[in-house]
Amino acid sequence: MHFARVIGRVVSTRKIQPLVGYRLLWIEPTDAEGQPSAKPLVAVDTGSYGDDEWVYYVTSREASLPLRDPFCAVDAAVVGKIDSVDRT
């Protein structure tokens, strides 16, 4: 999984059936300190992750596993929220 911050949403009403009911988030990948590290991408919200939250996401085949239809055509999904990173 990779670190990211939720920076917005993508609203899409007409979308493929397996995605109905799921929110789409703009996320910006970060490093383990929370600093932006790559270009933003769109990920499915599999829980209820919100604006400015520090989260982690999976890509590729694993992104669709939390959805109702685990064969849905998505390539990134937010799967958890980070409370803290402990270095000691």
Partner: protein, 96 residues
């Protein structure tokens, strides 16, 4: 698989239910000479690794599903071993 060093632990209470039971580590990928290479990432611990340990990380979801026995675990990075030693030919010796 890649070589990495454990650099932290992640606390996450709000997460996908399939991930609920797993300990999350921050791992820093390493080059063959032991230097940091690339971005830190989150990996699930299967071998009770601790901060500072050099570990082997598998980054493939099918393997993660086989190891965990869970078909719908949304997981790619799995710490699958603690590295004791690396032996390389044609270099100045092994690294501990």
């Amino acid at each position: 698989m890649i070589l990495a060093r454990v650099t932290g632990t992640v606390t996450s209470t709000d997460k996908d239910p399939e991930l609920a039971q797993y300990k999350l580590l921050v791992v820093q990928p390493l080059a063959i000479d032991g230097r940091d290479e690339g971005e830190e990432m989150i990996a699930v611990d299967r071998v009770d690794a601790g901060i500072g340990d050099k570990v082997l990380v598998s980054r493939e979801g099918t393997g993660a599903r086989l190891v965990t026995g869970r078909e719908r675990v949304p997981l790619q990075n799995l710490v699958i071993g603690v590295v004791d030693r690396i032996d390389l030919l044609n270099t100045t010796g092994s690294q501990e």
